[in-house]
Amino acid sequence: MDWVFTEDRPIWQQLMEQITLIILNGGYPPGSRLPAVRELAAQAGVNPNTMQRAMAQLEQKGLAVGSRTAGRTVTEDTAVIQAARRERAKAAVTSCLRILEELGYIREDALAIIKEELAHE
């Protein structure tokens, strides 16, 4: 998988987001083992400490579950995953609405454009 990083934010944050995305897309199914930190870090071409930080954050968010013996696994708690999915979606919408606002489309105009696009699908 291609890991893309932007310059302005800490890499661990971007790693966390991209791994979250993979989980949400089913790339790492619920309950499945996540690769070891070092391995994943090498894959992504990043510092293992950075990857460790990203994974620790995922644990904190509840998306990953750490265990001493089995390493890290994706949570099986579908509620958590759903919540994360929703959060992501909301972020996408917020970002879209901001762009539309910059372009001059607010409220009803924005909604209208969105409905138009949906109708075309």
Partner: protein, 241 residues
């Protein structure tokens, strides 16, 4: 084991009147990947050579694992210079024998398997190898040691982008996690995501030493972008390009 792997206090190296290093104060912890960043002539190679014992400082002190530079520190430091350092008639396996003899932390099996994955035939004579292959052999020698400090002087300069990823990947997958890797380079964007910490070296002095995360959070830009700012060439003041 000392908590700090490397400490430099007031480290100065003068060639004649010109100081290559001018009062460097530095502390490196363990288990970090650190970038020693600066333009050519900023003193990076001088600093690394002093840490390896290839140069004696004019002033100041250096300690590696709490010890002054000497045979003990040389046994825990693995150095990759920016040039080839072996006699041509040798084979890679001869070099492995040499390293196995002198360095207790050299893992011959690992070296052989690294050669296999890098596509190097260890039984070939070094003088028959291409420049790129020779560089790989040197990299293998350095990374197959379970050293406490890895000092890599410009490992990716003069190397094509694909090879750079390759080299960085090799470093990432082989270094001793209890040890510290110091990579000196002026090609920052390539190695930024591999680094824990960045040190900016300007005119022989440390002008910045911080974690990459902190730099991005505090400055809101990448280390590469910050570097360009800090080391921007001054056009109209008659400064150095």
């Amino acid at each position: 084991m000392n908590e700090l792997l490397v400490t430099c206090t007031g480290l100065t190296k003068r060639y004649g009147l010109k100081p290559a290093l001018n009062g460097v104060n530095l502390e490196l912890g363990r288990g970090r990947i650190v970038g020693l960043l600066g333009p050519n002539g900023s003193g990076k190679t001088t600093l690394i050579k002093i840490l390896c014992g290839l140069l004696q400082p004019t002033d100041g002190a250096v300690a590696i694992d709490g010890q002054p530079v000497g045979p003990y520190t040389k046994s825990i430091v693995s150095y990759l210079p920016d040039r080839m350092y072996f006699a041509g008639w040798m084979k890679a396996t001869d070099l492995f024998d040499l390293f196995a003899d002198f360095y207790g932390d050299f893992d011959r099996a690992k070296a052989m398997s690294m050669c296999a994955s890098l596509g190097v035939t260890p039984s070939d004579r070094l003088k028959t190898m291409s420049k790129g292959t020779k560089e790989k052999v040197q990299l293998v020698l350095v990374m197959a040691r379970k050293a406490q400090a890895y000092l890599l002087d410009e490992p990716i300069a003069g190397v094509d982008p694909a090879a750079r990823d390759f080299i960085l990947n090799t470093i990432l997958t082989n270094y001793n996690e209890d040890g510290t890797v110091m990579i000196s380079t002026h090609l920052i964007s390539d190695i930024e995501k591999v680094l824990d910490e960045a040190i900016f070296l300007k005119d022989g002095q440390v002008v910045l030493h911080n974690t990459v995360d902190a730099i991005r959070e505090q400055e809101g830009k990448s280390v590469d972008a910050l570097f360009r700012e800090v080391f921007r060439a001054r056009n109209y003041e008659g400064g150095i390009f």
